[in-house]
């Protein structure tokens, strides 16, 4: 029996003691920080403001726009389409490319006012088993209605990019059950454009539709 075990995760935010006050230092930091820090700064808003749509952009873009007042560069950084990336290293490389190009074209770089420097942080993830399991799509639907948003977050976002499994856990499971079309439909969603509750409802509806067919 192919059973789906719903897990959940809780994050601890760590401080790296590393700051940046201009683009050059931000670039230097992005090159040096651990992947857990890239993940933190690109997913923090999604997690903390998961009720908002559209959500605020990643931390780098937000700081560049709101603190350095570099609207154009901020927009480019916020437009990086995270769903297209399969590894955090690739995502880091993209940010490095954008910032390097900006520095090549712009001699002058504004400095953050004192007290508004960029502080690099990271997160540690603690994964727990929940009591919820499913062996059929209808059990899956039932359970997905009950688990916390942290569980949904883990199986969709963390599984694909942080754990670098290539795709989300739900699609992998439905694929194993032979429900390829449903697996593909869930994989095709851009989860970054939903609120977490919106995403939960969307997935439940997809499963419901396939289950009733």
């Amino acid at each position: 029996m192919n059973e789906f075990y719903f897990k959940t995760k809780l994050d601890q935010t760590t401080l790296l003691g590393l700051t940046a006050k201009n683009i050059r230092e931000l670039l230097k930091g992005i090159k040096a920080i651990p992947e857990a820090s890239i993940y933190y700064h690109t997913h923090k808003y999604l997690h903390q403001h998961h009720f908002l749509s559209p959500e605020p952009p990643n931390d780098f873009a937000y700081w560049i726009t709101e603190v350095l007042n570099e609207a154009r560069l901020g927009e480019i950084m916020s437009s990086v389409d995270i769903v297209q990336f399969h590894t955090l290293q690739d995502l880091r490389t993209r940010f490095v490319e954008i910032l390097s190009e900006h520095l090549r074209e712009n001699d002058k770089s504004p400095t953050a006012p004192q007290g508004q420097e960029f502080h690099f942080m990271a997160s540690r993830m603690f994964v727990l088993q929940t009591p919820y399991t499913a062996t059929t799509p209808s059990e899956f639907r039932e359970a997905l209605q009950r688990v916390s948003v942290n569980s949904l977050y883990y199986h969709i976002f963390d599984a694909k990019l942080r754990l670098e499994k290539g795709e989300n856990d739900f699609s992998r499971w439905f694929r194993d059950l032979g429900k390829t079309q449903l697996a593909d439909e869930i994989a095709r969603l851009d989860p970054y454009t939903y609120t977490l509750e919106g995403l939960r409802n969307r997935i439940i509806k997809l499963v419901e539709r396939h289950d009733s067919n």
């Binding site: 809780l10 760590t14 003691g17 403001h49 908002l52 937000y62 993830m125 603690f126 994964v127």
Partner: protein, 405 residues
């Protein structure tokens, strides 16, 4: 007594279930909190609320208070001021006394499995670690962004003997040889300051103070202290008042260590005397219900601080879904994402501009308030604080970025 399940209707049962799951991982370990005061101040307040909840979750917890004489506390007061950037001189003898008092306390304490030390006063207890082992955490509750370097390096020798240091805001992080964790403070949604209030109680409190609820009310709750910029608030109000019919409420305690405090208070009162729509309310410490009502009944809440530790009054206002305009200082940017869950400003003019906007566009203001409340619900309630503490204790036994419990 408040029960952990009482938070379920607010944060959801799944969140409470996760706390129990985490707590199970700490079975067999006792947590010992150590600080320097049993009453008064934010640390005592949070421990008073937190320890019964941890116990209900099945985590054995206790709380010890170190003993010190007047001389010791005058030295730690100097440390406190110096860490906040105030120029102070601490003599060799005073440093020695500080260590000596900590050593005397070691002899009076029995240590639990996890020793959780709060703030600088008991920091040197960790010297005992070489004799007894245990896991040690140092939790800094104060603003550490620009500490006096001499005091900092004195404290650093002790801090680096701990397993982990915990700070309240990213700006307080330092270059340290041990891991540093961010744990923001929190508010308790079931406390008198934050619980739901019936509308007639809010109305009666407003009428007691003579404030007209049929017209827009702008409120700042804070001490009358230079760093909270009450005069800046009045200036912003006056600019906004040219175009919108608003009242201003400045409410808070009067006590302050700030030498400029009395002058500021006098100026505030002089300004208020000139304008019948400015209300200056000096509230005694037991005014939690009044503060709650003033926040709930306000059209817009301000926190125009020049410097701030974390600024929990912002969380309090947002929890009440109030449109909030606050300075981008200290921990405030963690609580407000500009134009999403509130407004961050940097000047008197900017504050005035946004007062007008939010008074004239109540639908946009309402949306900010709704988002703000949701943000506080997810990130700054006591249940999140408990989760962070449980993770902190668990993390002492595990070191990987991803841990399967």
């Amino acid at each position: 007594m408040i029960r952990i399940e009482d938070y379920s209707p607010i944060v959801g049962q799944a969140t409470i279930d996760e706390l129990f799951l985490l707590a199970q991982r700490l079975q067999g370990n006792e947590i010992q909190n150590i600080n320097s005061t049993a009453v008064g101040g934010g640390v005592a307040e949070i421990l008073t609320r937190m320890i019964p909840l941890l116990t209900q979750l099945g985590v054995r917890s206790r709380w010890d208070v170190i003993k010190g004489d007047e001389k010791f506390f005058s030295i730690t007061k100097k440390f406190h001021n110096g860490l906040h950037g105030v120029p102070v001189e601490v003599s060799h003898e005073e440093y020695d006394t500080f260590i000596e008092v900590n050593r005397l306390n070691v002899g009076m304490l029995s240590f639990a499995d996890i020793v959780f030390v709060h703030d600088p006063q008991p920091v040197a207890l960790v010297e005992e670690r070489k004799n007894i082992g245990r896991r040690w955490i140092w939790r800094c509750h104060i603003d550490f962004s620009k500490p006096n370097e001499r005091i900092w390096s004195f404290l650093q020798q002790f801090i680096e003997q701990y397993d982990t240091a915990v700070f309240s805001a990213p700006a307080f992080a330092r270059k340290l040889a041990i891991p540093q964790v961010l744990i923001s403070p929190s508010i308790d949604p079931l406390s008198d300051k934050n619980k739901d209030l019936p509308d007639d109680l809010i109305n009666s409190i407003f009428s007691r103070f003579g404030i007209d609820r049929t017209r827009p009310v702008i409120t700042q709750i804070s001490r009358f202290d230079y760093l909270k910029d009450p005069l800046g608030v009045i200036k912003a109000y006056k600019i906004a008042k040219r175009h919108v019919d608003v009242q201003l409420v400045l409410a808070g305690g009067g006590a302050t260590d700030d030498p400029e405090g009395p002058t500021i208070m006098q100026q505030v009162q002089e300004e208020a005397a000139k304008d019948k729509d400015v209300f200056v309310l000096f509230l005694p410490p037991s005014s939690d219900i009044e503060i709650n009502a003033l926040q709930r009944g306000s059209t817009v809440v301000l926190q125009k601080s020049l410097k701030e530790g974390f600024g929990l009054t912002v969380s309090e206002a947002l929890w009440k879904a109030r449109p909030t305009i606050a300075s981008a200082v200290g921990g405030i940017p963690l609580q407000i994402a500009h134009k999403y869950s509130g407004i961050l400003t940097h000047s008197i003019e900017g504050t005035a501009y946004w007062i007008k906007q939010l008074v004239n566009e109540p639908e946009y203001a309402r949306k900010l308030g709704v988002n703000g409340k949701e943000h506080i619900k997810n990130n700054f309630l006591i249940t999140r604080h408990i989760k962070d503490y449980l993770l902190l204790f668990i993390s002492l036994f595990r070191r990987n970025d991803i841990e399967y419990l």
